[in-house]
Amino acid sequence: MKKIILIFFGLLISCNTTGELKITNQWFRPAVKGMNTAFYFTIENNTNQADTLYSVNSDIAGMVQIHETFEKEGMMGMRQVDFVVVKPNSKIEFKPGGLHVMVMNLYSDYKKNSSADFELYFKQKGIVKIKAVTKL
């Protein structure tokens, strides 16, 4: 009985935010089989609570990680980021030259106007499934 009540309240809380955290402007760069690409999007958190993106997954590649581009002593590099917190009523852009999702070791070619499915895992919102299309 306790479990049912907990699940009920859990669903109630999740219902309060469903639809209010959304992903927009999603796209990824064209790349061919065996190569890497980057997946970009905007997270719009229109809720009153922070949420955390902690993982991204896709069946199109051997590995998917959240990364950021950094500059050090005039050189550019990329490094993995464990999670990204999206504050209440704010948005975060994953964009070229900044935060991005690294999609590594593609299983197929993704040329112009190809599409792929991605799953974004949020602490509060849960899984958000989206489709993205390649663009240059």
């Binding site: 500059e71 005039g74 550019m76 590099g77 070229p96 690294m102 590594m104």
Partner: protein
């Protein structure tokens, strides 16, 4: 003696002359690469001597590795925009060169795929790779650095590595002189276009 009207006309002429002829002399020479000779291969596996095969041409030069998902494609796409603008302006006698600092993975066919997936026409655009030592000697000469960074092991046990690298677009004039360097991924495209027009 110049009257007021004559002085105005003279000032106007000086300004116009400065705009058309004066600016081109403002880009200093960083390094003379005119005698540089690095035996590389292009995306078609054709032998390519850098810089001897580019003599007499203005060169837009950049440095990439094709496994780079974010920074290097930005540089390439900036050059695509620059080339499109120059082509539209009727400036077609410019050569575009991208040198891979990851020659072990960036074979000619990989470079060709990188170009084709972006719709790059390769008539005056060359993707170059080659022997690692030769490539890095060339990079040393133009003061470009590329250091292997983090390594990732995929669930299928594939090893992936990235580079921490100089982010640059360089311009070389018709005399083979390195004239100016710009940021590659975050390029000021108009500034680069104006500089190309000045040195071309």
């Amino acid at each position: 003696m110049l009257n007021k009207m004559g002085f105005k006309k003279l000032s106007f002429a000086i300004i116009i002359a400065f705009i058309f002829f004066g600016c081109g002399k403002d880009i200093p020479v960083i390094k003379d690469l005119g005698k540089s000779s690095y035996k590389l291969i292009d995306q078609d596996s054709t032998k390519f001597n850098f810089l001897q095969d580019l003599k007499g041409k203005t060169v837009v030069l950049s440095y990439i590795y094709t496994n780079c998902p974010d920074i290097c494609p930005l540089t390439t796409h900036n050059i695509i925009s620059i080339k499109n603008k120059l082509d539209n302006d009727g400036i077609t006698d410019v050569e575009y060169v991208e040198i891979s600092f990851d020659p072990e993975r960036d074979s000619p066919s990989v470079l060709k795929n990188y170009a084709e997936v972006r719709g790059i026409k390769l008539n005056n655009w060359h993707f170059l790779t080659g022997d690692k030592k030769t490539v890095f000697n060339l990079l040393d000469e133009v003061n470009v650095r590329a250091l292997p960074g983090d390594t990732t092991i995929t669930p299928k046990n594939d090893t992936l590595y990235y580079f921490i690298h100089t982010d640059r677009i360089s311009l070389i004039d018709k005399q083979g002189r390195l004239r100016i360097n710009f940021k590659g991924s975050n390029a000021n495209k108009n500034e680069i276009i104006n500089s190309i027009k000045q040195i071309n």
